[in-house]
Amino acid sequence: MAPIQSAEQTVLAIRPEGLPAFWPADNPWLHALVFIVASIAFALVMVIVFIYVERRGVARFQLRLGPNRAGPEGVLQAVADLIKLLLKEDIVPRLADKVVHLLAPIVATVPAFMVFAVVPLWGDGAMLADLNAGVLYFIAISSFGVVGVFMAGWASSNKYSLISAMRGVAQMVSYEIPLVMALLGVVVFAGTLSLNGIVDAQSIPFALLQPLAAVIYFLAMSAEINRTPFDLLEAESEIIAGYHTEYSGMKFALFYVAEYGHAVAGAAIFATFFLGGWKGPVLPPVLWLVIKMLVVFFVGFWARATLPRLRVDQVMGLGWKALLPLAVINVLIAAVEVLFWPSGTTQWLLVPINIAIGALLVFLWSRTVSLRGGRVEVRTRAEVKA
């Protein structure tokens, strides 16, 4: 059995070959400092880009112009919004649990940015920490955001917020499982849990090799970051603004950043797992990653601009009845394929096979799983007494 590595070594398992020659690879603290700043800056800039792209893009879908006043073509709208939110009064409800109310936006925001520690953003190995358990780290961190949501819903002492928080917990717990199962298929093919290793293994993007896993992951990710059609947490027509109904000013801004931060993280992870991450010809690696993230995000807000929302029990039904069994079957198929199919150049042949299998399975499930109906028999107090 190999000796257990020290914590420092594990966290800062630097792979210097993707970095320039002058890189201080022997100084882990300097390395960490540079990459922490760079990762968070990347995430924040991408949040602003995503907000702008979504607002303008959805406006196009809706025959509107979108923000076009602040700065050229409205690019400074996010800055204007931020200034407005900073200057707004911070309102805390009288019956709120003040400490939890204050902590909730922080707890919700931080995990979104922590994910970027293990994502190869700038090229081969150019990342904060190439953990050999990177996938586990990502799963653990990304599911932590719901704690902030629940804290917000609970501390606000608002019934709409509480409903939203309960929905959030139920939804995240349900969708975490198909999400992990979908990633397992990729891990089986890649043979590693390191995100950089997964990118390296993609001579064929896993979106082609594992199409079903890609679809399941995308849906589960949409549910995790609660975007349409799974945006139960912020269902405006039902529960006002959900868990952040009672938030204003900078705390609300943090939730807003958290929402888009999770979207950025989700898109980055999808691009890394299924679209080959930073890989691509001509352009610098980070630009390739950004392009891929924007493509993923575009599909996300395309759905948002087009689809209505599912009901809470339908979301649960979809997760447990459709996505989970499909993900499990997908892992089985992937395992069988890896066992019996010689890896190498003939792997291309698996692409049409897997697409066909995925299409067949989705078709079968669409015929058998129905989300219709859903009325519950209730008895009123008077009937119970009688």
Partner: protein, 370 residues
């Protein structure tokens, strides 16, 4: 498997009067068990302006602007129902051209109102404003046409006792012809976006089913009644104005669920286009308003005039004592009466369904609270 006994505590939410999807200042006191609706109690009166009392102190003509403010998304039909009741009471003849103009604007009002009804219904299903914005695009065109007619976009005050207030300007006719020609294509567009969407079907099929018997017993009217399968439309079954001259069908649902209400409205819009097209072909030249004294003074008596407004049967009960103001003025609020069955429709459904079912009834608070 034996079900385990878990005890849950129901809790009460006051949905409204400032909730984003209660279409104004409607309030429901809802008891929930988790997300499941256990009890609903509608509460009215947040927009009560006492229009019935105000009308008793105004002349018959002065009441017309008051009716604009009843169902403010269908002001034209409110005007129409009221002036028709007064005409019935006073025995005033209406010129042909005015009748045609009334049919044209009335049907355009129905399209506009149904556009908003379906648009907001889809919005309440959770679609992020896209279908609504598409429907707003066409509603905007209708409002522009009304702007040409009377200079107003929401409260028209267009109808008069014995006719209408203005003859349309010449540029109105090509515009309305173009609109009627293009509208069916736009309806196809909405249907392509919404009708066959699986999520829409999952959310609306078999949700909030109203039975035929209950619908009739509870005096439901309009698309809400027809969606249950009751073939009853005042335009055909109690023909008023000149509706007997047009060929049109009355769309009827089968299930009485949210989806049928949506489909009824979509199909009705197509029929509206047919009616307007025929009216545009038939409209004669001539007077647009009968010559009447300034003050209408109907003989003593009473009248109940009703028309098929977009949201259902809109009735006006007038009692005259041969003075210049009505002795009693009562509006039959179609949407308030449609809300009678709200509790039956929503019990056992979830919070999200409650909003959708309420949206499918399509209420306007101006008419409910008066």
């Amino acid at each position: 498997m034996e079900a385990t006994e878990t005890r849950t505590e129901p809790f009460v939410i006051n949905l409204g009067p400032h909730h984003p999807s209660t279409h104004g200042v409607f309030r429901m006191r809802v008891t929930f068990d988790g997300e499941v609706v256990v009890d609903v109690e509608p509460m009215f009166g947040y927009l009560h302006r006492g229009i019935e009392k105000l009308a008793e102190g105004r002349t018959y003509t002065q009441i017309i602007p008051l009716t604009d403010r009843l169902d403010y998304l269908a002001s034209m039909t409110n005007n129409w129902g009221y002036v028709m009741a007064v005409e019935k009471l006073a025995g005033v003849p209406v010129p042909e051209r005015a009748e045609y103009l009334r049919v044209i604007v009335g049907e355009m009002m129905r399209i506009s109102s149904h556009l908003l009804a379906t648009g907001f219904l889809i919005n309440e299903l959770g679609a992020f404003f896209t279908p609504l914005m598409y429907m707003y695009r066409e509603r905007e065109k209708i409002l522009d046409l009304f702007d040409m007619l009377c200079g107003q976009r929401l409260t028209y005050n267009y109808m008069r006792v014995g006719g209408v207030s203005h003859d349309p300007p010449p540029e109105f006719w090509p515009a309305v012809k173009r609109f009627v020609r293009e509208m069916p294509g736009y309806i196809d567009e909405y249907e392509g976006l919404v009708t066959t969407n699986e999520i829409v079907l999952a959310r609306t099929k078999d949700v909030g089913v109203l039975s035929k018997e209950l619908a009739i017993n509870a005096s439901a009217s309009g698309p809400f009644l027809r969606a249950t399968g009751v073939d009853w439309d005042l335009r055909r079954d109690d023909t008023y104005s000149i509706y007997d001259r047009f060929k049109f069908d009355i769309p009827v649902g089968t299930n009485g669920d949210v989806f049928d209400r949506y489909m009824c409205r979509i199909q009705e819009m197509r029929q509206c286009c047919r009616i307007i097209e025929q009216a545009l072909q038939q409209i004669p030249r001539g007077e647009f308003r009968a010559r009447l004294p300034h003050l209408v003074r109907p003989p003593a008596g009473e009248v109940y005039g009703h028309i098929e407004a977009p949201r259902g049967e809109l009735g006006f009960y007038l009692v005259s004592d041969n003075s210049i103001a009505p002795y009693r003025f009562h509006v039959r609020p179609s949407t308030m009466i449609n809300l009678t069955t709200l509790r039956d429709l929503t019990i056992g459904w979830k919070l999200a369904d409650l909003i959708v079912i309420f949206g499918s009834i399509d209420v306007v608070l101006g008419e409910i609270d008066r």
